[in-house]
């Protein structure tokens, strides 16, 4: 079954769209195969661990320019006033929020879950592992990449 037809894919897509719309007031759409745009190698990325009831990791990568624009809009400041600390905080909080929504969408109501704290990635985005699930998305023409790794998610 293609990933796009699985409950995990739709649970994440809904979580991502909801989070970006409510926090950053931007619309997230899926990239069509024909128009697929790769995430730049210098994109900013952040990851969060899922500890329980499944073990896995969610990774979010966003181009620097898009994150700077979103930060300026969200904090209501000029682009030139955006600080690195603010950009890092926003991407971490977005991932934290969408990870929670994703687990809520995916699991039964009576199932608790435990997430780690967001961690900022250093250097280029790590190579995608075999069996990872990818969401190739876009915001206002810029690519956005989400990856889920973890044995529990593949079954």
């Amino acid at each position: 079954m293609p990933h796009q037809d699985t409950p995990i894919y739709s649970a994440m897509l809904e979580a991502v769209c909801d989070t970006f719309e409510k926090m950053a007031f931007v619309e997230v759409t899926e990239q069509s195969d024909e128009l697929e745009q790769e995430i730049p190698s210098d994109a900013i990325w952040v990851s969060i661990l899922i500890h329980d009831p499944l073990q896995g990791e969610i990774r979010l990568a966003i181009p620097q320019g898009l994150l700077t624009n979103m930060t300026a809009d969200m904090f209501g400041i000029e682009l030139s006033d955006v600080e690195e600390k603010q950009r890092q905080d926003i991407i971490a909080e977005i991932l934290n929020t969408l990870a929670g929504l994703f687990m809520t969408n995916l699991l039964p109501d009576d199932q608790s879950y435990k997430l780690g704290l967001p961690e900022h990635g250093e250097g280029p985005i790590p190579e995608v592992e075999d069996g990872s699930i990818l969401w190739n998305l876009k915001i206002e023409g810029s690519p956005l990449l989400l990856i889920v790794n973890g044995i529990g998610f593949m079954s």
Binding site: D89, E93, N96, L101, L107, Y113, L117
Partner: protein, 124 residues
């Protein structure tokens, strides 16, 4: 003037909550922002506090531990605590309500959610 403590390790989350408070008519409250539960306890003990809004996942002291400390403290036990979290679901919500939380809200928080949660508080 009401005194409100916001505990969240994310400046973005605190900014969102502050904006929501402003929109629902609590913009003139004295708002103290802190980054984790230990700082929240200190802030709440420093002066009579009307409301504590706390995240769940925080370094140093998480929101659940903070809630237990508040409810065990004779000085703070009557202070309403609202948990605003990305790690909430019905099972977790029930657990936190049993521990004494007034409400448990899921992120991303929006003004109507906060207004509904604080309706009794806003009437005072």
């Amino acid at each position: 003037m009401k005194r409100i403590v916001i505990a969240d390790d994310s400046a973005t989350a605190r900014m969102f909550i502050r904006r929501c408070l402003d929109i629902i008519g609590l913009g003139d409250a004295e708002i103290i922002e802190v980054e984790h539960g230990k700082e929240a306890l200190a802030a709440a003990k420093a002066a009579p506090t009307d409301l504590l809004l706390s995240d769940l996942n925080m370094p140093v002291m998480d929101g659940e531990t903070l809630l237990k400390w508040v409810k065990a403290s004779p000085k703070l036990m009557d202070m309403p605590v609202v948990i605003i979290t990305s790690a909430g679901n019905p099972a977790k919500e029930q657990e936190l309500l049993k521990l004494g939380a007034l409400k448990v809200l899921n992120k991303p928080v929006a003004p109507p959610m906060l207004m509904d949660a604080l309706s009794m508080f806003l009437e005072d």
